[in-house]
Every structure is written in structure tokens, then in C-alpha cells.
């Protein structure tokens, strides 16, 4: 399995008043193509910062991060935005769909930013894949949490990125919906997508290929299931 993401000794700290918070320290991690990885840890352990750094939403302070063969340290902010668009799909705990747009339009949105007109068939196919095609013309306010998260997953897949980053994607869902959404990620991984999920759920983490556990910004466990 070739490595899609290679992190070597990455660290990130924040200032809070006069105090420096070392959110992640000296993290090294190789994530292979089609691998489904869960990141676990207590609140404040550094899961979110690690995901944000891998997703190029935060700049790393030190170390190196290579995504699909490109070292992000060499890239400008604009180049990172473009690379993020090409490589990553994001799924948030709170969905973050645009409330004024329909499910269909929310899925079409990444195409607008990438300057690509996504075909109607492609969008409907994605909605069909996540099981909400019948809700294509509904707005987020007219959908359940599970349906909104499925639309968010379809949006993350709109530009067919090789990597999906999901932060507590089942955190706001009931058990049945959580399992269904997780099943979707499983399916995507089997199709060759690299899936990185931050979760608190031991049960869901066990269903991933690999579990990385963090404590105080450092990896304390890195095991394959």
C-alpha cells in the first residue's frame, strides 16, 4: 500500500495569553492509500489539531508533511487552498451545510470553487450513493441529522478527492445513523479512498483498519485492527 500522507515529526503550538499550548508534538505518521484510520483520544489530546494540520487548515510549526508526494512547506497559501480542494474532502461533526441551498446545491458547491461544473448525473449519483437522492431538493432545515451528514459526505466526495477527513462525523447522530454513516466510510475506503476519522467511539474505531491514540499531543498507541 503506497503512502498518501507522510508526516515526520510535526508539531504545532498555540499561544493562550502568555502560555504556550503544545497541541501536537513530534508526530510521525504514514497513512496509506485506501487506509481507514481512526484517531482517538480525550478532549484536548490534539486530535483536532492533527486533523487540521493534515488537512492544511493549520500550518505546522516544525517537521514535514508530504501529501500525495507534495511537501506542503514549499507551498503558498493559495497553492495550499488548491491542493486542499484537489486532495481533501471534509466532513464535520456539525455538518456545516449551507442552509439556503438544497442538498443538490450543497453537493455542487465544491465544483463552483474549483471552477468545474459538476454534472447533474454525478451529483445525483453521489446523493444516491449516500442514500439521500430522494431529498435532493430539500434544504438542511428540512432534513434529519443523519440525512444532513450523508449530504455532507456527498459534498466531500464531489470532486473525487483521494482523502476524506472526518471530525467526529457520528457525534451528532443516533446509533443507527452513526453505523450507517460509518458503513459509508468503510465502503469509500474499499474503493481506494484514504479515510481519517477522529472519534470517541471505541466501537466505531474497532471497525477501522488502524487506530492511533493521542495523549497530550503525542501518539501513545498506533495499532492495526
Amino acid at each position: 500500500m503506497s503512502d498518501t500522507i507522510i508526516a515526520k515529526g510535526i508539531s504545532k503550538s498555540f499561544k493562550r495569553g502568555t502560555e504556550t499550548i503544545h497541541a501536537i508534538q513530534d508526530i510521525s505518521l504514514n497513512i496509506g492509500k485506501g487506509e481507514m484510520l481512526s484517531i482517538m483520544g480525550r478532549s484536548g489530546s490534539g486530535k483536532t489539531t492533527l486533523l487540521s494540520c493534515i488537512g492544511m487548515l493549520e500550518n505546522i510549526d516544525s517537521g514535514s508533511l508530504v501529501l500525495e508526494g507534495r511537501n506542503i512547506k514549499d507551498l503558498s497559501e493559495a497553492q495550499r487552498t488548491i491542493l486542499r480542494r484537489e486532495l481533501m474532502g471534509f466532513v464535520f461533526q456539525r455538518f456545516f451545510l449551507i442552509p439556503t441551498l438544497t442538498a443538490y446545491e450543497n453537493v455542487a458547491l465544491p465544483g463552483l470553487f474549483a471552477g468545474k461544473k459538476l454534472g447533474k448525473d454525478h451529483i445525483m449519483e453521489l446523493l444516491e450513493m449516500v442514500g439521500v437522492s430522494q431529498r435532493y431538493d430539500h434544504r438542511p432545515g428540512q432534513m434529519s441529522g443523519g440525512e444532513m451528514q450523508r449530504v455532507a459526505i456527498a459534498r466531500a466526495l464531489a470532486l473525487d478527492p483521494p482523502v476524506i477527513i472526518a471530525d467526529e462525523p457520528t457525534g451528532n447522530l443516533d446509533t443507527a445513523n452513526a453505523e450507517a454513516v460509518f458503513g459509508l466510510f468503510r465502503k469509500l475506503a474499499s474503493q481506494g479512498k484514504t479515510i481519517i476519522i477522529a472519534t470517541h467511539s471505541q466501537k466505531l474505531a474497532k471497525d477501522c483498519d488502524r487506530v492511533v491514540e493521542l495523549m497530550d499531543g503525542r501518539i501513545t498507541r498506533d495499532e492495526k485492527n
Binding site: 487540521s52 480542494r85 464535520f92 446545491e105
Partner: protein, 409 residues
């Protein structure tokens, strides 16, 4: 999906706020267009009226020459006269091509007062824009009517009207001199009835004469019992310096005072230009206030949607794309408001002109609010400029919005 659609949806999310912001722009643009339209319309109407006067100079009784000229243009009673012999003296001045005596006063028909305008033979040459159905009055007892009053009276050629003149008390006129002091009641009396026969109907000119009873000068003098002229219209030859020469000569004729049409035009323009500065100040303040309101509305929208904007940045929107979407919202607001403002002003153009004519004494009869296409285009440009100006604060805020971090649990 398009940026335009996205901007429209965001505006539709808060309909009341959007409507209020558009209404602010509409009011500003309507105010701007109405004031500028009035400036251009009034200026043009006054200049057209002066140009249509057909002469370069007027001899009026001593007093306020501009007031006399305005009264002559729009109809009114000048409380003094030039003696009859003044016309021959003026005709005798070198460089005077022709001189026409004008008599103006008030008459009463069926208890309603109207303006009577007495003209001497040949006056029609000075007014090429006057088109008369029938003939010009040459003899006493003959009458032509302005289009508006003719319509009001249902007049036709051959119809007879018995009118009574309103004349100023001769004794009071002699005692008070040129102009009665402000607040002094003018003593008038009614003259003997005279029968007039309609010999012509004047086509609409858009000026005050649309409301005039026009007779020969000798008939008018009889109706209002005036032994003289209200003014003398002077046509000059084309030689250089003739205006200055004649002006000096006219000052030596009885109690006459020369006033050139250029002087009146410049005075009117000067007054209008002063008014324009005040108008523009009001408009600029209104537009700036409008820009602040629109900028505030848009900024509020950006702050409310900071998470959405952050999410858009996360899924690949560049700062420029986010800025374009926000800027487009503001431009849609201002353009919509601007276009509604233009339509509203076009709809209100005639009622506004009528209202201004009531409020402004001696205003011309033509449309006082002129909205030429270039002014309408300028308004669209101002609306867009307003949008660009107002979009700066929300745009900066939107462009600076960082990508949304993973929220964590």
C-alpha cells in the same frame, strides 16, 4: 450552482433586512435623480423660455428689472408703465432693428381672473414657435387664446367673451410711485366690460402663454385702462457692441431700464447653480448614509455567516471567491435599489413637476424634472459605485475569514 445564485440565496435568507437595505438605496437614488432632474429640468425650461422670447433686450419700467422680466415671462401685473411715446424713442435708437410694445395685466371672466397679454402688430415674428389656428389679433375686440385656457373654456374661433379689466387705482399709483411698499394693499377697480371675439387659438407652447388671453396692445390697454406699455421688447441688429450701445441709450428714455435676456439667463443660472450646491450636499450626505447602511447590512451578514464562510474556505474557496460572493451581494442590493429608484423617479416625474410648479412661483409651464438618458445611466453608475464602496468593509471581513478548523468534540 453559480456565485450569483449563492449571493441571491444569501440575500433571500434575511428578506426584511434585504428589503430595508434596497429601500435605503432606492430612496437615495430617487432623491439624487429627482434633485438633479429638477436642476436640469428647471434650468432647461428657464433657458428655453428666455430663448423663445425672441428678442435680445427688454425695456422695463425702473425698479427691479429681473422681477419685471420674470413677470413678463410668466404673467403678472407690473405696477408701473412706460409711456406710449417711449416706443418711438426706442425705435429711433441706432442698432434697434424693431421694438414691440407689450401690455400685461389682469382681466376677469365669469368671476375668474386671467392674464391678458397685449401685443403689437409684427410680434409674431419674434415668436416663431407660436403656431396659431386662425389669425393674430390686429384690431380691437380680437382675441387669441393660449391652448390650456382655450381647452378649459371650450373656446372656438368666432366665440365671443365679455371680459372686465382689473386696473390699479390711478391716484394710488401716482402716490406710491413705482412699486407699492410690501404689505401695502393695492387698490384696484374694475373697468367697463368689453366684448372679445376669438380669432385664433394658439397651439401648446409649454410656456406661460398657454394660459394667456392675447389681444392687440391697444385692446389690452383699454381693458386694463393703461395709458402706456408694461414693457418694450427690443430686437437688435447683429453688429458688435450694439447691445451695450442700445442699453445706454434706453436708460435715457423716460423711466425705462434696459435688461438683456442674457443678464436674466445668467441670473437664473446663478440662482440655480447656488441651489445645485445645496442639493448636491444633501444628496452626497444621503448617499454616504446609504453606503453606511448597506455596508452595515452586508457586514452583519458576513459576521453571521462566518462559520459558513470558513467552511467554504475549507472546501476550497479562495479568499477572492469568498470576496466575490460577498461583493456580489452588495452590488445586487445597490443595483436593485438603484433600478427601482430610477423607475420610481420616472413614475413620479410628472407629479413631482406639477408639485414643484405649485411650490415655485413663476415656474415655467414645461416639465420641471428632466431625466435625460445620460442622467439615468449616471444613476446606475452611482448605484454600482455605492455598491463597491459599501462592499469594502464586508469584503475585507470575508476575505480575512480563515478556513474552518475541525471543530473537535
Amino acid at each position: 450552482m453559480s456565485t450569483f445564485k449563492l449571493a441571491l440565496r444569501n440575500l433571500a435568507k434575511r428578506p426584511m433586512r434585504t428589503v430595508l437595505a434596497i429601500a435605503t438605496v432606492t430612496i437615495s437614488i430617487t432623491l439624487l435623480l429627482s434633485l438633479l432632474g429638477f436642476y436640469f429640468g428647471y434650468n432647461k425650461a428657464m433657458k428655453d423660455e428666455l430663448n423663445n422670447f425672441g428678442v435680445q433686450m427688454l425695456a422695463v419700467p425702473k425698479g427691479c428689472p429681473y422681477s419685471s422680466t420674470t413677470l413678463l415671462l410668466h404673467g403678472g401685473v407690473i405696477p408701473n408703465k412706460l409711456p406710449l411715446e417711449a416706443i418711438d424713442k426706442i425705435k429711433a435708437i441706432q442698432h434697434v432693428k424693431s421694438a414691440q410694445g407689450i401690455v400685461m395685466g389682469t382681466l376677469e371672466l365669469d368671476g375668474v381672473q386671467h392674464i391678458i397679454y397685449g401685443i403689437s402688430p409684427g410680434f409674431e415674428k419674434l415668436r416663431p414657435n407660436w403656431k396659431v389656428q386662425g389669425k393674430f389679433p390686429t384690431a380691437e375686440g380680437e382675441l387669441i387664446l393660449g391652448s390650456t385656457i382655450a381647452k378649459k373654456l371650450g373656446a372656438e374661433i368666432g366665440k365671443k367673451y365679455t371680459v372686465i379689466g382689473i386696473a390699479q387705482d390711478k391716484k394710488q399709483q401716482e402716490e406710491l410711485g413705482t412699486y407699492p411698499p410690501i404689505g401695502q394693499q393695492v387698490i384696484t377697480y374694475k373697468t367697463d366690460p368689453r366684448e372679445l371675439t376669438v380669432v385664433g387659438l394658439l397651439d401648446q407652447t409649454g410656456a406661460s402663454e398657454d394660459n394667456f388671453f392675447i389681444t392687440s396692445d391697444s385692446e389690452a390697454r383699454k381693458i386694463i385702462d393703461l395709458n402706456g406699455y408694461t414693457a418694450i421688447a427690443i430686437e437688435l441688429d447683429d453688429q458688435t457692441g450694439s447691445k451695450e450701445f442700445v442699453a445706454v441709450a434706453v436708460e435715457g428714455v423716460n423711466d425705462a431700464q434696459p435688461v438683456t435676456i442674457n443678464q436674466v439667463a445668467n441670473t437664473v443660472s446663478g440662482l440655480i447653480d447656488s441651489a445645485r450646491s445645496i442639493m448636491l450636499s444633501v444628496v452626497i450626505v444621503a448617499i454616504l448614509a446609504c453606503a453606511i447602511v448597506v455596508a452595515g447590512t452586508a457586514l452583519m451578514g458576513v459576521i453571521e455567516r462566518s462559520k459558513e464562510i470558513g467552511m467554504m474556505r475549507t472546501i476550497g474557496a479562495t479568499p477572492l471567491q469568498v470576496g466575490t460572493s460577498v461583493g456580489l451581494e452588495v452590488v445586487i442590493l445597490t443595483l436593485t435599489g438603484g433600478i427601482i429608484g430610477i423607475v420610481l423617479t420616472l413614475v413620479l416625474q410628472n407629479p413631482l413637476s406639477d408639485l414643484l410648479r405649485i411650490l415655485i412661483p413663476n415656474a415655467p409651464n414645461t416639465n420641471l424634472v428632466s431625466l435625460p438618458p445620460d442622467l439615468l445611466l449616471l444613476s446606475v453608475g452611482i448605484a454600482v459605485a455605492l455598491g463597491i464602496l459599501a462592499s469594502i468593509p464586508p469584503l475585507i471581513s470575508a476575505v480575512r475569514a480563515p478556513p474552518l478548523r475541525m471543530a473537535g468534540s
